[in-house]
Symmetry: C2
Subunit: 473 residues, 2 copies
Amino acid sequence: MSRADKDLLSIQEARILVENARNAQFLVKDYKQSYLDKIINQLIDDITIELAHFVDMEVNETKRGCKKDKEWLLNTFLSQLKKELPNQQCIGELLKDSAGNILKVGVPLGVVVAFPSENNVVLNTLYSLIIGIKSGNSIIIIPDNQAYCTTIHIVNSVKNICEKYGLPVGCITCLESTSESGILEIVTHKNTSMIISAGKITNTTNTQKPMIYGGTGGTPVFIEHTANISNAVQSVIDSRSLDNGMLPGSEQYLIVEQSIASEVKKHFQQKGAHFLSEEEEHQLLNLLQPKNNGINPICVGKNARELAKMAHFSVEESTNILVSEKNYVHELDPFVNEMKCPVIAFYLEPDWMHACEKSIRLLKEKNNGHTIAIHSNNIEVLNQFALKKPVGRMIVNSPSSLASMGIDSTLSISCLLGGLTTGKGISAKNITASDLTYMREISHSIKCVEYTSRVEEESHEKMLEEILRKILA
Amino acid sequence: MSRADKDLLSIQEARILVENARNAQFLVKDYKQSYLDKIINQLIDDITIELAHFVDMEVNETKRGCKKDKEWLLNTFLSQLKKELPNQQCIGELLKDSAGNILKVGVPLGVVVAFPSENNVVLNTLYSLIIGIKSGNSIIIIPDNQAYCTTIHIVNSVKNICEKYGLPVGCITCLESTSESGILEIVTHKNTSMIISAGKITNTTNTQKPMIYGGTGGTPVFIEHTANISNAVQSVIDSRSLDNGMLPGSEQYLIVEQSIASEVKKHFQQKGAHFLSEEEEHQLLNLLQPKNNGINPICVGKNARELAKMAHFSVEESTNILVSEKNYVHELDPFVNEMKCPVIAFYLEPDWMHACEKSIRLLKEKNNGHTIAIHSNNIEVLNQFALKKPVGRMIVNSPSSLASMGIDSTLSISCLLGGLTTGKGISAKNITASDLTYMREISHSIKCVEYTSRVEEESHEKMLEEILRKILA
């Protein structure tokens, strides 16, 4: 029987990958954290010289984003990750008492299947692989069709490096025949333990597996009158234009307290923002065709000048973002659809707090909010926002696209921003290697005298240390 | 149109419950942790006098379990829970720096739907409601048909008490028309945030929601030669016979190191265990009809004497467990099916470690392992087991059914033993109120000098304090 239909071939490949991954993980589960850390260290060192090439491939294949920004981001992200990872103990012994009894153990889940986003292919693919290795899991990458060649190339490079340094064959793989039936086979296979999706697959597919969803979605940003306006505006512009607006925590809705609105606008104009005329806005919307919480795919990851050109109006060479000025936040506003390009809606509502509420209700209704950003030096306002806003993370006085990923911020470094508050996946936090493990707890009788020894303090101060380390770095 | 089909009525009820729950939660989300704690305190005080009546109802309705044990367990569990809950801060401000900036906030998920187990109805229903209230969620209970009246009665009692003390109407409810379509409506409703199942529903239903599964399943128990044999045996017997063997962490497979096997057997016999003859075992298996990882429902929660009588053989009046002695752990052994009654399989394999491996592989294959128990005073052996065994919790030198729930043990008090390692749900740990929340993290720039203030140490020592508090209590 020489006939082999494409869907069946894909299912066959899926099964082989999962079974090999399970077998490889059976070996890896005996690796020590320090050994895996060493492999990752080598990996980051060896892969760094290939980053420029990876980015080239990505932008050539997807036609999205800015090569320079991507390269800078990757280098920054990986060097910070390299610094942070050795401090994370996620598998093996996590806690011991002074008598030497192990009390908590981190355990890899087994086989993790990851769908990297088609928008930040290199970053997403590398990060998924690194946290998979760090946590002692096997990891299977499912490439997005828009970034197929790049993804396969990256996975193969990482695989070769890691196998050279001691990871077993089968531990890092990539599904090459990506038919729907092959993907379904892989996400429902009994040996698959978890799904990470920053891409198209969501929990509408019944995988019967825990799923972590890396959220995308427009971030509202608030500028309050106590903010350092110049810094705030620079921060929003830098963040929104970075990689042409494709980063998951990037600002999309700007709400400004009325007393400073005109000053904010002036700063925006000085720093390269182009405020759209009514006609230009009309032209831009014709191009973007915003609907169903997305835009015309050919506009994703284009820069402000390119967008203007495609929409047939002209902007200055220095233009970095396009701004639509609006009087009211309104649910029928086309700008409430997610826009992965450097466009911002600037709302001038007189009642600032009311506008904040409304914008957040909108996000909530659109199941689209995982992050908000605020610029303010009023601790009361900051704490009120912290307590009330229904999102997973709040970014204070920083470029949201970077800070939400933990770059120069107190959050954990990660490009997977848990999307629980967008109604998808099981986690709202920045996803790290620990999220790909479970914790085994060891119960000792509190009636037995021999176990009443005082628990080691050091182990418990980890969380403190972690934050301090970042703050004082 | 006066016709109203039962399935549609059930769907209608489901929608109304979820919408009311959402509206009630909209109010509750502004309640402070201390206020909710006060309500729970009052609830536990007021409900305690009704426990005997609840248990009566449960055992009369389900015909399962032992009233005396259930009452004792409920009182013990609730009094320990009452002591522990005030130390858990799960919503609102969780962490602040010394400058007063809030860094972490706990947020209720919204509407939680719970399916209590049909085997520990009072305990499960009360605990689901209490952690729901503690975490600021609305909670909808779906009664199991086997325990329908009891469940509705308990929910109504709790609801009345809590509403008296300030919880809004709609926050605690119970689906009364439990058709399949009504249940499907409720678990897939867009306002439902999470499912807790200790009952029949599992993730084979595509709810598209995070699901916590409270595992059941037989626990293997190992007795190593350094154990205090008399204590170990007493512990296994007490635990296995408690509530006629229905508790989720109850011991089912006993594996003993050969050098002490005959001594262990002697102790078992002295302490009321009945070792089955070949014929009795045959009769018992005819009654239990073990298959598909379960037994004949009429045997669940019957005590040893009742089981013997039903199987037509006689045992002494003092008999508390029935023991099947086996030479080898074997996958076709009918005793590898889960048995919710006081029956134990006693394996005499000469190679102890090998037997352990085999029994665990069996559990793993049957997707049935969330807990193991071990009796040993050899710290090397304990730590080896802690590092290697693929379960969520390991119980040392204690009755597993109690210690796994955190009673007199260092684990968190909970009757929901996360079943991730059984392939169900998203968590392996003892489920507490915090698992019904997500954490909002606030990012401060680590470049801004004003935020480099040292983080309060106290907040970080919570985990330490918690364990110490239990150990030193």
